[in-house]
């Protein structure tokens, strides 16, 4: 019988420092055969582990259109992420997954997309953003609204430049008041306010929102005001998880197991959940 807790062995093939304490790893399967058979869809997550330190849950931050590797972006905060930071290119780590449901990007074909992200919550959206940009013909206007505390805390700085330079992407970046420098050309203000100012047209548009609970709480009413129906607004929930497989018993919100029925939910689904976020 297979051991559901056994991770794939992955080799770190590249890394980039995104922001203070935030790093991205590119991971290749140590066993090529396993790599060839591995499939995932955007929105899914996994358990990343440092042997000797333990496991931690993050999304898969790369797009399934970029085959042969996966990427994860993490901020150093606890034991496992500290141990992750100590690893170098060529080192081995563990990955189990992919787990959870997916962003239904096929359903979104032919529509405008508005991505709204805050801080370290851009990684799950980065996967779906690149997925949709790699299939650019299938979608109409693409808007990305991204904010962080300070300009230093913005992650994927190189990719933000890349999106900014594209004609087919409308990128709005913002930092919290006090987080700017004199040279900063983006907006200054909290994400919900900036979304209200940017006022993306809700007609035929899907909004995908990811950020800290407080940002989501204040952004959803703004989107509603702009005319977004709850079933056209998607988000991902990230509760503490240990197994990722619906057994360890901690990620539930009411009857809903975030690891199995999520992490992707519509605002409509969330509105029906009990207030236990």
């Amino acid at each position: 019988m297979d051991n559901i807790y056994r991770p794939y062995l992955m080799t770190i093939s590249d890394m980039i420092d995104e922001a203070p304490g935030v790093r991205t790893f590119r991971l290749n399967f140590s066993d090529e055969e396993e790599g060839k058979n591995f499939k995932f869809q955007t929105g899914q997550f996994g358990l990343y582990s440092v042997f000797g330190a333990g496991e931690s849950t993050f999304c898969i931050a790369s797009s399934p259109t970029r085959e042969g590797y996966i990427e994860c972006t993490f901020r150093e905060t606890g034991r496992v992420t500290k141990a992750l930071r100590e690893l170098n290119i060529g080192d081995t780590l563990g990955f189990r997954g992919p787990y959870g449901n997916v962003f239904p990007i096929e359903k979104w074909e032919g529509k405008n997309l508005v991505f709204v992200a805050g801080g370290i919550a851009l990684p799950p959206l980065r996967s779906v953003i690149w997925n949709c940009l790699d299939l650019r013909d299938k979608y109409k206007n693409v808007t990305i609204i991204y904010g962080a505390k300070t300009i230093h805390d913005l992650v994927y700085k190189n990719e933000l430049k890349e999106w900014d330079a594209r004609d087919d992407v409308n990128l709005v970046t913002t930092v919290d008041p006090g987080g700017e420098t004199p040279e900063w050309t983006g907006k200054v203000g909290f994400v919900p306010t900036v979304v209200e100012e940017a006022a993306p047209d809700s007609k035929d548009t899907i909004a995908i929102v990811c950020g800290p609970p407080i940002m989501i709480k204040f952004t959803l009413p703004v989107l509603e005001k702009l005319g977004f129906k709850q079933d056209k607004v998607y988000t991902t929930l990230e509760n503490r998880m240990k197994c990722g497989l619906g057994k360890c018993g901690r990620c539930n919100i009411g009857c809903t197991y975030v690891c199995k029925e999520g992490p992707v939910f519509t605002a409509e689904e969330i509105s029906k959940m009990p207030d236990e976020f």
């Binding site: 019988m1 297979d2 051991n3 559901i4 807790y5 056994r6 991770p7 062995l9 582990s49 440092v50 042997f51 000797g52 330190a53 333990g54 496991e55 905060t77 606890g78 992420t81 170098n88 060529g90 080192d91 081995t92 563990g94 800290p212 609970p213 990230e238 509760n239 503490r240 240990k242 197994c243 497989l245 619906g246 057994k247 360890c248 018993g249 901690r250 990620c251 539930n252 919100i253 009411g254 009857c255 199995k260 009990p274 207030d275 236990e276 976020f277």
Partner: protein, 337 residues
């Protein structure tokens, strides 16, 4: 199949099990505590207790268990699978409530993907239950749809019919095979209807009233009221045969280590705390609501089964004298308002 087992034959039963290669686990008296643990000799078996202090759970979901081992050599890692964790055993003298917890827990460990550590142990272990001939004020199996002589989850059920005799009823094929293996220990069942010595467990609440109330009362004063006394020690979750929440951690030296699954519990503040410090269940009241909701609503909706077998252990061990059946009685009263 029905048979008769005389108490004087317990000795040959335990010897027989050993000969057949079974490890035997039974209620064993150690000072004041009666604990389900491995025995070597029939005279170690306790027969006059109400319930063992530990539940049957630890023989299927141990307090701590290796889910993989690894060696680290520079940047290369090699994984080894744990082996030999499922040992051919008989649990002799478990209680019907404990036995029933097994099919209830099968649901969570088998749904969607199979946890082999649970499933392989389940296959390796045969459950011989003894019906309860006594109970105490904490027992409430009859309130959750069970009975002191319920058969669900057992492979063989023994019920006392006289001071020295037990009626032996096989429940599953596994149980029948076990009896056949040890045929000489048993005699033919009595021809007349035996007098089954079974405890009368008082029904404390009407379970059908509980879930409809829980469906409507995620927000209610009772949650904080219940939890006021709670010190968050989590003992209730550890002794519970159906509390299955676990943690996964690494235990290691520089060059080798184990990834282990440890019991965890919803009563701990850290259980749900995010890395950021944000905690979706930040108060003990929220954690009690989770405990009651998980057992009497969420599990019912997901797996069509109550996640409580009425053993009463949580209330027996609670250092703050909290009592789950009293809480359910309060909920029943609220439901009637």
């Amino acid at each position: 199949m029905e048979k008769l087992l005389n108490k004087n034959n317990f000795d040959s039963l335990i010897t027989g099990l050993k000969k057949q290669g079974y490890k035997t686990i039974a209620p064993r008296k150690d000072n004041r505590l009666v604990t389900l643990e491995e025995i070597q000799d029939a005279n170690e078996i306790s027969l006059d207790h109400v319930i063992t202090n530990n539940s049957i759970k630890e023989y299927f979901l141990p307090k701590t268990e290796k889910i993989l081992s690894y060696t680290i050599d520079k940047n290369k890692v090699e994984i080894e699978e744990p082996e030999g964790f499922a040992v051919k055993s008989v649990i002799f003298g478990s209680r019907p409530c404990d036995a029933f917890s097994l099919p209830v827990m099968d649901k969570v460990f088998n749904w969607d993907c199979v946890d082999k550590f649970w499933v392989e142990r389940r296959e390796a272990v045969t459950i011989v239950t003894i019906s309860c001939d006594k109970c105490d004020s904490y027992c409430f199996c009859t309130s959750v749809g069970l009975a002191p002589d319920a058969k669900q989850g057992s492979d063989v059920l023994l019920t006392k019919i006289s001071n020295d005799d037990y009626l032996v009823e096989t429940v599953t094929e596994k149980g029948e095979n076990l009896i056949k293996e040890l045929e000489s220990v048993f005699s033919d069942p009595p021809s007349d209807t035996p007098d089954r010595q079974v405890a009368t467990v008082e029904k404390k609440f009407d379970i059908s009233k509980i879930k409809p109330w829980l469906d409507e009362n995620f927000e209610h004063d009772v949650w904080d009221d219940f939890s006021n006394k709670c010190i968050g020690c989590g003992a209730c979750t550890f002794v519970c045969p159906t509390c299955h929440c676990f943690d996964i951690v690494d235990e290691c030296t520089m060059t080798k280590g184990d990834r282990v699954k440890n019991w965890d519990g919803c009563q701990f503040k850290m259980f749900t705390m995010h890395t950021s410090g944000h905690n979706p269940r930040s108060t003990q009241g929220m954690r009690w609501r989770q405990r009651i909701m998980h057992k009497f609503k969420y599990y019912v909706e997901k797996f069509d089964s109550t996640l409580c077998v009425g053993c009463g252990r949580c209330s027996r061990v609670c250092p703050a004298d909290m009592n789950i059946s009293e809480m359910l009685e309060i909920i029943e009263t609220e439901a009637g308002k």
